[in-house]
Symmetry: D2
Subunit: 342 residues, 4 copies
């Protein structure tokens, strides 16, 4: 009954098998092995972007920070939702890799930003005024931090506003696969409106691999230098490549996301049936549930793991907000046990 994070689940057996296979014998380091060379082109194929700049890294925060550093100068302003991962959960890594930058926080239901909100923020910003940061980028998470998916059309609408003002659009795709599974969009369709992408794998069944994709054919060398300088270039790179290769083979990435999303939908339905409020759309694999504090305590006693947003102390009947996250391995038994404990 571990719904703490998609990071708390195991890697998929095919991923482990790929790692074991990749360990056979010698391979040139730093991405010069056959696995690594092939996998970048497979990623380009996935996004129908034969000239995109691509590198692999081991951590999602690194993927976001590296991507943003290619589109935001030290004096640049990045608009993002006030709950964005880059604001809340990366301890300043984006600013560190940018060597500056400022995150300007926007509001929006379900941690999504509307084109109107973005347009207003840009209009009210300090473009052209030397005393302050210059609008440079928009960063959108899909899935959002509150579990909502954006369609390619929604991203396109944001991109239109951003691009019209000279901003680039970065997509924090830690749960990109879940968003594709939720909306039915292909990877290429989902990425079409964006300029840079962190294509997540770790939350979706890999041991630890993310791809940075820059849809600017001139960016490859700069991106590789940035990755190295950020201490994100793995010497035994074949192990990253092997994971990503398994991820892309037979659309395992999408298969795992479908499984995780289905588990979340199923669990959310069970929760609703049990009278638990659901605070945000369960488009992907995140559920923001509002049980009563008494229910929460029962779940804790039964050993369920998840994050509580708010205080354990208070009246029994008061509702608290809990984040539950499923992953490819979430079983029906886990869900039933959880609902039973409720």
């Amino acid at each position: 009954m571990n719904f703490a994070s998609d990071n708390s689940g195991p890697a998929h057996p095919k991923v482990i098998e790929a790692i074991v296979r990749a360990n056979d014998g010698y391979a040139m380091p730093y991405g010069n092995d056959p696995y690594s060379i092939d996998v970048n082109d497979k990623i380009r194929d996935l996004f129908n972007a034969p000239h995109a700049a691509v590198v692999l890294v081991g951590i999602g925060t690194a993927a976001n920070a590296l991507a943003l550093s290619t589109i935001c100068p030290p004096w640049g302003r990045i608009f993002c939702h006030e709950l964005a991962h880059i604001e809340e959960d990366e301890c300043g890594a984006p600013e560190a890799m940018i060597g500056g930058g400022k995150l300007t926080l926007l509001k929006g239901d379900h941690a999504k930003i509307t084109p109107k909100t973005l347009a207003d923020a840009i209009a009210g910003s300090t473009a052209g005024i030397v005393h302050s940061h210059q609008p440079a980028a928009l960063c959108v998470s899909n899935l959002s931090e509150l579990g909502a998916a954006s369609t390619p059309a929604e991203l396109q609408a944001l991109a239109k506003v951003a691009h019209a003002a000279g901003l680039k659009l970065h997509l924090d795709g830690a749960r990109f696969a879940n968003a594709c599974a939720a909306t039915g969009a292909t990877a290429a369709e989902m990425a079409a409106p964006v300029d840079t992408l962190a294509f997540g794998g770790t939350k979706n069944g890999l041991m630890g691999v993310e791809a940075v994709v820059i849809f600017d054919p001139d960016a490859q060398w700069e991106l590789e230098l940035r990755r190295k300088r950020a201490a994100q270039l793995f010497s035994k790179h074949r192990f990253l490549a092997a994971q990503m290769d398994a991820y892309l083979t037979d659309d395992l990435w999408l298969e795992m996301a479908h499984a995780a999303n289905a588990a979340a939908t199923d669990l959310a339905n069970g929760l609703r049936d049990a009278g638990v409020e659901i605070a945000h759309p369960v488009d992907g694999n995140q559920i923001f549930a509002r049980p009563t504090r008494a229910q929460h305590r029962r779940l804790q006693d039964a050993g369920a793991a998840y994050y509580l947003h708010g205080s354990l102390e208070g009246p029994d009947e008061e509702r608290v907000t809990c984040r539950l996250v499923t992953n490819w391995s979430t079983s029906q038994q886990d869900r039933q046990q959880f609902l039973a404990a409720l």
Copy 2:
């Protein structure tokens, strides 16, 4: 016949087994799993330093850069050998994580620094002069970049000079295990003189794990924040911990280093017998060999992989410098085949 790098060899089967084992079921992310909690204490035990600050990262450059960032302020000067990894091979990552700093390059045979050289450099430096960097640290690689080992006594002599001038001593231990195997020193003996240590695993049979060890009990929280901000905190941290756990179990780390060192000694002897000059002491697992260009070409034609320092063009009989690196898996067959091709 791959002697390109210790990074080109495979991970040890016990390491792979540990990863597979760790993949069983759920585990809290970001180092809050049982593997991760235990392994930090095992590292502290290894160094007989119960209160040391310890974190795991995936890349040696990150380990050096993080360690240095805890002992060098933005205006600090770090003395190191002119061939040091932090100068030559990290693309500015140390300066990036320090948020400044300056590497001041020292000379020394076999890429080792003598206490006299250090003392002279400190005396001639800009301590107390506001216009320039302030001496802050000495960084020593052991093994050195040219394959020479330093004994604990040699490190102690450097530490004495450094500490007398208020400098901290960082040990780049990418090949720390090989240095212990070469000198017979225990890990604790080798680390006793130093203030911060990058304890390498990746070059010595792991998939990709290094430990940063700061022998200052107050540094743990700062180190964890620095790691996070540098985008080096892995969510599925159990996989790093499992590797390090296997590494420490039954002294696998030392066993692998002994094997690599023995292979290098054996290969160096064979090379000498074949009339190839050896440019530096073969204390550990690195050989700087000087075959003739004709020999080099024959080796290349036979498919041997290693780095050539210098030009492929030139007279056949002229000697060229080649770096050959062994690892735990280097086989007798590899060596014989190599010598035969010569």
Copy 3:
């Protein structure tokens, strides 16, 4: 009729005289001249802080950024008002000198922060969570960016909350003199609650000098190194020292602030009499006036200079917000001419 900024006014004749006097003959550079050595002690006397660290710089942004860099680590969070100068008008200089940091924006009437707002923000922040910035400092402007003064007691109340949570308090004192003149507090009383201070001179009759004061006797050397590295150490430092010396002599700093404040009070009264709304308290030398757009146009036509917050386009009878700033040299004639043009 120039009310654009206190920066648009001239330097006081006594300041110019001091510069001319200081130009006589030779003087050792970089703060080693007699003027410079004396003036730091005069500043310490003013604040009754004989061991404070003190340096002079030429620009207010540098003063804030340097001061903050001594109390906020790269992973630190600085709470400030959403209109704070460090957020709006310094183009990231604080983050640049800190080498990181994050400004977390608070709301508050008249650009002042209440202890309650601060306490709530600290309580809701990410202290102790490795994934995000750690609360490090509070930055308060006095005068506020909307012209309101804080008393020493108000600062003390904020300091109490900040210090209880381990935060340092930085005072952006670009208009420190106006705040003292407004409240009747001495410099020492006003600075007593704070840890670091940017003591402004440029907006108050100097050509361009600010003092950074760190009330931590151990900070002098670090502060000097930070100033040098930030390229803020003037070689012909005597000219900064001479200005500051004139500023402190016979309380010229306070005399000029009283004059500027009185001019603002007088002008605000005239505006009110003319039916212009005043949006915020006119405690010091800033007036946020709300004339009708028709009045604004008349003022523009008459050649009055000030900043309009909002659009020039719109109905004549609609009110617009204008910032008017007085300085030591603002004359009665300027005010009368302005009111007449209204």
Copy 4:
């Protein structure tokens, strides 16, 4: 008898007069006053570069650091002489403003770099290797740090090598005027081979103004943002502009440099006549003299101010190296008194 630095001399009376004149009445801040707008075009005229990007700053270190930050990425390598001001005397400000960068130190007589030395360094560097810094710029001081002038032809020869390898050439022109006076080159001729220039004023009779000139018409806005973010944009900018205006009027800048150079030549001749060795060419206003230690002591006793490179302790008859710097105001009486004391 103050030969400590050209920074220890006074500002020229015409400069002071210009400041006094500029203090009359109101002027828009931050470079929007008439003085400031005019003076940038006057600088462009001087360099025959109508579209160059130009900003004024108050400090030479800031000028170098800002200029370099526009031509060197965080992973860039800057070649410079091992005695370069940016290496020895700026405490890391260039790296701070670049947000990275590495200075690679070259040797050369009289602190000058030869095209051959540069070509060899570029050839031996790490261009195209992701593990290390990428060659980005050459920084040359003219005058050199040891007083030697370079002609436009010499700079052109360096520029040719640099540009062929894709490097930009920055000229540290703290003593640019002295170099022009020494060689007879016009400002435009001297600057023709370079990409970026720090055009010094402070060492040559101004109170504290330097111009950053980027000979790339697209750089103006970026340069202004960089200046602001580096806290180098003065609010009362008219006082910088007025100084620079006086500097350019009737070639005062060149007149002062000629006076300083002539004083140095004269003093050097007197020293030679007195048996003092002169270590480097006295092309401009710096003399590296080698009196005996006994002579040095006599000069000290007589109150002469200059820098001693080496130890005060030692045999009387041993020679020591002293740096003597003249400026526009160095009088014949100063020189005679000095030679008499010898």
